[in-house]
């Protein structure tokens, strides 16, 4: 059973539930404490030992269902009773029920044929043992190599071979040749048994395909999404990307969180404590601590939400707001022909909804960088200082208008860092109405940013410099 549990944990991992070795040991202890018989109890107990976030719980339930998803105990119990009443009829397509126990074989020859050690694991009626046998056969048949729907038959065959189904076949034909009543009864029983086993194998293979194929498919999809140009995404992919963004954000967050916090209280201020103690005759009643003063870095994000750049803005904002516990205070702005602050909107609403609202409210109109920059300068120009990092996301296409370079320059001189993320590929910078080459002179860095992979790298670097 332990092997089975390990396989289950493997499946959980493939479904993105993070299970550490320590937790694996926990799960073993847990299972040992509650036993394997009560499925509901086992599920509840393992869930508390293995699925450690609210998001993981449904995934866990799903995997548990797939993996331990044998028929309900009550149901199978009832079926077994039925089967005991009337000999199992094996002709129809309905999932065959587990045959009743072996008919008593008093005939020496029949008993001798049935008493075959190779046959024993196949005839053992306990579900657990069957599970173990299936697992073993799966390992022998390299079932994890199965990728496609069409391979089901092949792997099913291999599984059956590995389980020693041929021995069963041989025994059946040997029994038939005996041509005795007891022999026929045994044949009937073995045939029912064979059908039951075959259907168990089929179910097992199907479930395994479901578990593995999902995982493989998802991995490939995520890889593709990460390097795809964001503007090329279809509407229905947005949800997947949002999830991926959140996943990437979590990864980056855990990397940077550690460095963010440092001593806040500081050490005992000996000088001050002694000085103040003079008033009490040198008895230091009150202690003074050195305060560590740290400037809170500020992040200003300006996103162009006109036309094709909008998709990128969407993901930049989503990314940054998914990082809310490592990124310092963000003030966000969106612009097309004038600027609007969205900080409050994002503070109050979940990112996706906030983005939709911002889009509907301010997304119309063609880009006017000068007007937007001037607006920004008016709103928070005074506050930009040596803590401020400004990120502008836009293509720098200003419809041949005044780019407002002098405003950018004044920001550039005041702020600690001015970054420009440009979704256009480098080759098209400066062509047509693109002013990006001119803006480049007033930025610390201009980076091409047109896929999630690039966005991830940029934000990683950004966090390294900001803290």
């Amino acid at each position: 059973m332990e092997q089975r549990l390990l396989r289950f944990i493997d499946v959980l991992r493939k479904h993105d539930v993070r299970v550490s070795t320590a937790e694996t040991l926990d799960a073993m202890q847990t299972a040992a404490a509650v036993g394997y018989d009560d499925r509901e109890l086992l599920s509840g107990a393992l869930s508390s030992a293995l699925a450690k976030t609210a998001d993981d719980k449904p995934t866990f339930d799903h995997c548990f269902e797939l993996f331990f998803g044998l028929p309900d105990r009550d149901q199978s119990g009832a079926k077994a009773d039925e089967a005991a009443d009337s000999t199992a009829d094996t002709g129809n397509d309905a999932p065959p029920e587990e045959p009743a126990a072996a008919p008593a074989a008093t005939d020496a020859e029949v008993a001798a044929l049935l008493d075959n050690p190779e046959l024993e694991p196949l005839l053992n009626t306990s579900e657990d043992q069957l599970g173990v046998a299936l697992e073993q056969a799966a390992t022998e048949a390299n079932l994890d190599d199965m990728r496609f729907n069409t391979q089901r038959g092949l792997f099913g065959r291999r599984m059956q071979d590995a389980m020693g189904m041929q021995t069963l076949e041989r025994t059946i034909s040997a029994l038939r040749e005996l041509e005795t009543d007891q022999g026929d009864a045994a044949v009937n029983w073995l045939q029912a048994r064979r059908q039951y086993l075959q259907s168990s194998v089929r179910d097992f293979v199907d479930r395994r395909l479901l578990m593995n194929a999902n995982y493989e498919g998802r991995q490939i999809r995520e890889q593709a999404l990460r390097s795809a140009r964001l503007s090329a995404l279809e509407r229905h992919q947005l949800k997947d990307v949002s999830e991926l963004v959140r996943k990437l954000a979590r990864k980056i967050a855990s990397k940077h969180r550690r460095r963010m916090h440092r001593d806040k209280r500081g050490r005992l201020d000996v000088g001050k404590t002694l000085r103040r103690s003079l008033g009490h005759g040198g008895v230091p009643f009150k202690l003074y601590w050195k305060k560590v003063k740290r400037d809170q870095p500020e992040l200003y994000v300006l996103c162009d939400i006109s036309g094709s750049v909008a998709t990128y803005s969407r993901f930049l904002l989503l990314f940054l707001y998914s990082l809310n516990d490592v990124v310092p205070k963000i003030r966000s702005f969106v612009f097309s022909n004038h600027i609007a602050e969205t900080t409050e909107l994002f503070d109050n609403e979940p990112p996706e909804k906030a983005i939709e609202t911002a889009w509907q409210k301010w997304g119309l109109g063609s880009s006017d960088y000068r007007n937007s920059l001037a607006g920004f300068n008016e709103l928070c120009g005074d506050r930009i200082g040596h803590n401020a990092t400004i990120i502008i996301l836009g293509d720098g296409r200003n419809n041949y208008g005044d780019p407002g370079l002098e405003i950018m320059q004044s920001l550039y001189h005041k702020a600690r860092l001015v970054l420009w993320f440009n979704p256009e590929s480098q080759s098209s910078w400066g062509t047509g109405d693109s002013e990006i080459k001119r803006y480049q002179t007033a930025c610390h860095a201009v980076a091409e940013c047109n896929s999630l992979a690039k966005l991830e790298r940029l934000i990683d670097q950004l966090l390294r410099t900001v803290h």
Partner: protein, 311 residues
């Protein structure tokens, strides 16, 4: 087979015992608590606010007849407030006293070397138990008959505080550099609660069993109200629970929690209500919904919901 049966009986018994403490637990909750006792693991309890996370720790403490030691987390909480601190003022006073006593101690010692040897013999009580100020974690570990330790809203604490907790969570001990390691006499049962305002570290999660308490379903919530406010008539109880369950389906800024259902039931009781009526709901809705916008947004659907609740 007997193993599962044993576990199942123990868990059912636990549900019953918690019920005598007025805490209605579902099987998942009882299973996790039982496992925590068996495996000696802390429990990390998550769930929306007001579903009884803190209450669970209270009930378990009362059930085990052990003291509940509570540590409320907040930003900036550090070891001197959570684990231990030195009684600085007393230590400083002690040095003053020592200064006066020094003459007696040093009597007869001549030369620097002899004095230092004499000082060595003199016990070092500056950093000792006498001046140790116990904070919740240490207190829970030192409780002679065991205790239930509740670390409330651990997500509000800083990231590095989580690391401080790890030693206690994994090995039931704390290390004080000046004294050494203090182990728990009796391992306390530890509950951590989190409202998920931020992701907790994997290291912390790894050491805990995880329990997610969702909003209860109608049956369970009805049972909770019955236990908490037994005076409410059955008819009213069913109606008000059904109404709250419907409210939770709406998009609200703050979804009403179980604690709010109970408050509402109490309020309705005070108003001698027998059944839900439109006026009654409208005049008491602010007990359930804490934001003006939420109240406004539900207005259009209010009548229909009350009607459905009355059926």
């Amino acid at each position: 087979m007997p193993q599962s049966t044993n576990a199942a009986t123990a868990i059912d018994a636990l549900v019953g015992k918690l019920a005598t403490q007025n805490y209605i637990a579902n099987r998942q909750i009882a299973t996790t608590v039982w496992l925590a006792q068996q495996l000696e693991r802390p429990i990390l309890v998550e769930g929306p606010p007001g579903v009884g996370k803190t209450e669970l720790a209270n009930a378990v403490a009362a059930m085990l007849e052990q003291p509940l030691v509570r540590l409320q987390c907040y930003e900036g909480l550090d070891e001197s407030k959570a684990i231990y601190d030195w009684k600085y003022s007393k230590q400083l006073l002690y040095t003053q006293v020592l200064k006066e006593q020094l003459g007696d101690i040093m009597k007869g010692a001549t030369g620097l070397k002899a004095s230092i040897e004499r000082l060595q013999e003199f016990g070092d009580i500056f950093y000792s138990d006498i001046f140790l100020e116990e904070r919740p974690l240490l207190k829970a570990l030192r409780e002679p008959a065991g205790a239930v330790l509740l670390i409330d809203e651990v997500d509000k604490s800083d990231y590095e505080f989580e690391s401080l907790l790890l030693e206690t969570l994994a090995d039931f001990q704390v290390s004080i550099p000046e004294i050494g390691t203090i182990r728990a006499a009796v391992k306390p049962l530890i509950f951590l609660t989190s409202n998920n305002t931020r992701d907790l570290s994997d290291a912390l999660k790894r050491r805990c069993l995880h329990l997610y308490i969702p909003f209860p379903d109608q049956k369970l919530e009805s049972l909770i109200v019955r236990t908490r406010v037994p005076e409410v008539t059955a008819a009213l109880r069913d109606q008000l629970v059904r109404f709250v369950q419907q409210l939770r389906q709406l998009d609200l800024k703050k979804t009403p929690a179980v604690s709010e259902t109970i408050d509402w039931a109490r309020a309705l009781l005070l108003m001698h209500a027998e059944v839900l009526t439109d006026e009654l709901v409208e005049s008491t809705l602010n007990l359930l919904l804490k934001f003006e916008e939420d109240i406004e947004n539900t207005q259009p659907e209010l009548r229909a919901m009350i009607k459905q609740a009355q059926e």
